[in-house]
Amino acid sequence: MMPIEYPVREEIQRTKEAVLQTALPRRRLSRPGLRTVFGRCAPVLLISFGIYLFLLGFCLMLERSPRSPLIVLLLYPLTYYSFYFLSFRMERENGVIELKQSFKYAFHYLICLRMLYFSVLTVYLNLLLITACGFDGNNFISLAAAGTSAQILSALFSLILYEKTGSIRCSAVLPAVWIIACIVLLRYSEHVNRLLMEIIPLSLHIIVAVGSLAAFLLYTGKVELKNAYDF
């Protein structure tokens, strides 16, 4: 008798999933509005902008020195991080994460959109930090682009870490590493300045900044798809 080879369980599962993937209707979800994304975040937003104003005040007091660019870079993602951690803390303290994760617009998707919008907003606001420190011309653009890359990548990595670990504790490593790195680099500020302003071409700064933003948008799109058709 000829032996009959039956497919293994995993193979059956894969085939089933492939059939379903093509057969299930793909309804495009409308994106939630700002009210839904930032709902109940007013106190956290106020505190974050308080921190931003404090940083801005600090920059205004700062005398222009070789260390200024690094200090600006150090401060760049801090408003984002303060909003990120306060936002999670508020949701966790109110015990709403599990409930929100069960809704059409699941918590992870909402937090991703929230951080994307907030990052873009603070990128603009942080231009004031650079202006406050007296940078202009190509130096202004270089620093703005480097700061934007630093901030957007911070946001992206913090969200990916949260997605992978399900906890924000791991993301706390990111600002810690960033602050330590900047403080260490302050000792070599002249070399870093030369690297930032002279060695790395302006176009590369801009490409990295735009690339970071594109990566963040792609990631948000992936989370959006996962929210809509997967979990």
Partner: protein, 286 residues
Amino acid sequence: MLTISEVSKSYGKKRVLDDISIELENGLYGLLAPNGAGKTTLLKLIVTLLSPDRGEILWNGAPVQKLGASYREIIGYLPQQFGYYKYNTPVQYLDYLAALKGLPREGLKEKIFSVLDTVGLSDVAQVKMRKFSGGMIQRVGIAQALMGDSRLLILDEPTAGLDPKERARFRNLIAEMSKNRIVILSTHIVSDVESVSGRVLMLKDRKLVRNQSASALCSELEGKVFEIRVKTDDQAAALKKEHFILSERNEAGSMILRYYSEQPAGLEGERLCPPNLEDLFLVMYR
């Protein structure tokens, strides 16, 4: 129809659910098991907060993992720990949650007041929730689960914190709700399940061991539950040694023991009793 097919789930090396299979159609299901038996895990799998290690959960034949938001749209979920923003009023909070559920704005206010009326909170609809008791917060939780077109209502310990009057009102409410949707009610309070559940699902040793009506389950103990009045502590101690005691109460200076025994003990004054779900619960999880 919700189908749970050969679902298993572990946390690390600890297996919590093992090979659970069940088909649920419109109606009320009471999920009964002691604390830590995996009730909440099973509900979280159904709500997609967790994914199974093995097996799948299907909604009308399609895996819920692949249905994503369109599946979550039809779920009304009350978690064990219902979170809320204490400086919100119920109306503000429900309005916000409705936005997260993607409900249309049109007619939303009326809908919110209607569900608040259903759970008996219409008179405090505009009061900040920080002033609410635990029972009132629980009712806000039930209200949010009822909002929208919830064809699958999942309630994890919904009667915790409710007083007897609120519990009775809640039981009537979910009995009504279950006419045209699937309602899964998880609890360790046996009387809640006994009074409302169409079917009782019981978990034991990580497996689903029962899926029957409460009366069918009780009939398993038919002829095995007895009561006896004892006058001395020695008599009571002797009985406790020999049989599994289901309950004991003092009445007119003597003690009445309710116990489970495969055979009548042949004691004087022994009386055969109709078994209830609590008896079965105690016998099963002894």
